[in-house]
């Protein structure tokens, strides 16, 4: 009798253990799948930066800037601030405003970087001077520049296999000048506004 009770207890303990193991396996397998699914949704780490040829140093006059999209989609403004042939005569800064991500452009005539979204102003070295970035002490991230045999190279992140954007030089005519600085641009914007509210 006692042995049958003990055997019954052992059986129910075994059944309980098996049930627990089954639940643990279910939670572990679906949990693993869920963690893989979540990880999948976040892009793979981009590759380390590497030196990428940009342009012949002579082709960029002093006080002018060019904008680039790197292979991983980062937007960079390369400005020439000195007449020499050294890396210090050039500055490469992210042209994405650290406030809300709008495009910053170099204004040679005002010797500053300018963000048209909320009138953010940056010094030539990328330090926030006024507007929301200046108030928050934000600066434009800097990229390393090197000059080799008169050619300018930037240390930029490379594509991770999916982003197929080539390093490209943006035509001068595509550059934004800033709010209220370009009557043609303002006319375009007025037209866009009309469209938005029509």
């Amino acid at each position: 009798m006692a042995s049958s009770e003990a055997s019954g207890r052992r059986r129910s303990l075994l059944a309980g253990g098996l049930l627990l193991a089954m639940w643990a396996a279910l939670v572990a397998s679906y949990g693993t799948f869920a963690s893989y699914a979540v990880r999948f949704l976040f892009p793979a780490r981009r590759r380390d930066p590497s030196w990428t040829y940009v342009l012949d140093a002579k082709s960029l006059p002093v006080g002018q800037a060019l904008q680039y999209i790197t292979p991983d989609g980062a937007k960079i403004t390369l400005a020439r601030q000195g007449s020499g042939q050294a890396a210090e005569d050039f500055v490469a800064l992210s042209s994405v405003c650290p406030h809300l991500g709008c495009q910053v452009s170099w204004e040679g005539q005002n010797n500053r970087f300018f963000c048209p979204c909320h009138n953010g102003v940056f010094a030539p070295d990328g330090t926030g001077v006024s507007g929301p970035p200046g108030d928050a002490g934000q600066s434009l991230p800097k990229y390393s520049v090197k000059i080799q045999n008169g050619l300018v190279y930037l240390d930029v992140p490379q594509a991770d296999g999916l982003a197929q954007v080539e390093l490209r030089q943006i035509d001068e005519s595509e550059r934004i000048v800033g709010p209220g600085h370009d009557p043609c641009l303002m006319a375009d914007l007025d037209r866009d506004q009309d469209r938005r509210f029509s």
């Binding site: 980062a74 991500g101 709008c102 048209p116 979204c117 954007v165 550059r175 029509s198």
Partner: protein
């Protein structure tokens, strides 16, 4: 064997069962149009699904092709302008209808015990509707939709702790890139609608379980029955609403069709950035305070309204005759209208 018998052998559902299932007694106050606003967003959601599926036949979610495919739909596809315009106006009316429905529920106190959970489900549906609207606008790949998405992702970035993950998830990277648009498309056309359908099922199931909140008015005639049948009486009301909405959508789509702005240029931020009208409140709020303060306070306000049935119950326990919720509601409505008009009226 008749056709009816053939089917009844294979589908053992009787007409009386269906009548029983659908004939929920509907309170008399639902004869008033103001109280039929719950069905309006549901109807518009169906319109959005149908027009959205049609648009998906031509839409191509990549930076190189998105704008051109929208232009093709708008200018070349047969009745493409109509389908896209109905989709656009359907979204506008749906957001408006959800907000109006929520206001009606709020001011009539229909969120109170035992309907707290359904209020919270409703708040989730409101947020879901706004997110569907936002992701849909981003798909056009116009200048404003591109920069609107960029700014929104950067706003999300400022949320403490989870912000950078939200931004990474939305943009599929640190910045708007080649994978971003397809992500917005999946969120807009699959994930969010599926979530919305789930929320609608839960919302309606809770309504059926608890019954609709009943209201009585002074002008009601005595001796009349308190309820009427869902089928066919209330269904007829909903059909009339649907007809009116379809006429309204068609008129709006014809008179004010969806247009094309300039194509997105990642290297040229427009001087004036505006989101869709239903996000004007948020956008203006962001301009009034520092970004962290604005994001945190906005989150706090949304969370407060999410838990409002419990906050209101606590206030009413302490001050039973208080009209606190009404004053808060009026303040909220004035704030929504004021900030929306303000943002719409000025460039910056």
């Amino acid at each position: 064997m008749s056709v009816a018998e053939w089917f009844s052998e294979r589908l053992p559902v009787r007409g009386s069962d269906l009548r029983e299932l659908t004939n929920e007694p509907v309170p008399n106050h639902l004869r008033r149009w103001w109280y039929a606003l719950g069905g309006t967003p549901a109807y518009l959601f169906v319109v959005q699904i149908v027009t959205g599926i049609l648009l998906a036949f031509y839409y191509q979610p990549s930076a190189e092709t998105a704008y051109e495919s929208v232009r093709y739909i708008t200018e070349q596809a047969h009745f493409g302008w109509y389908v896209r315009s109905v989709h656009k106006w359907g979204a506008t009316l749906m957001v408006a209808a959800v907000i109006l429905h929520q206001m009606r529920v709020y001011f009539t106190g229909a969120y109170r015990k035992p309907r707290e959970i359904n209020w919270m489900v409703g708040m989730c549906m409101l947020v879901c509707t706004l997110l569907i609207g936002f992701t849909g606008y981003a798909l056009v790949y116009e200048q404003l939709s591109y920069w609107g998405a960029t700014v929104a992702a950067n706003i999300a970035d400022t949320v403490p702790i989870a912000g950078p993950w939200i931004k990474q998830f939305l943009l599929a990277g640190d910045t708007y890139n080649a994978r971003t648009l397809s992500r917005f498309f999946v969120l807009h056309a699959a994930v969010m609608p599926a979530l919305m359908i789930l929320l609608i099922i839960i919302h309606i199931a809770i309504i059926r379980l608890q019954g609709v909140t009943e209201f009585h008015f002074e002008d009601e005639k005595s001796g009349e029955p308190d309820h009427f049948n869902f089928f066919p009486d209330h269904l007829m009301t909903e059909i009339i609403m649907g007809l009116i909405l379809m006429v309204l959508l068609s008129v709006l789509a014809t008179v004010l069709p969806a247009t094309m702005g300039p194509v997105a240029d990642p290297l040229n931020t427009p001087e004036v950035i505006k989101p869709e009208w239903f996000l004007y409140v948020t956008f203006r709020w962001l301009k009034l305070f520092s970004i962290t303060t604005a994001v945190l306070s906005m989150g706090f306000i949304v969370f407060t309204f999410f838990l409002w049935p419990f906050i209101d119950a606590w206030v009413r326990r302490r001050w039973p005759k208080s009209e606190f919720s009404v004053y808060v509601g009026i303040l909220g409505v004035l704030a929504i209208i004021g900030l929306t008009v303000w943002e719409g009226a000025v460039a910056h």
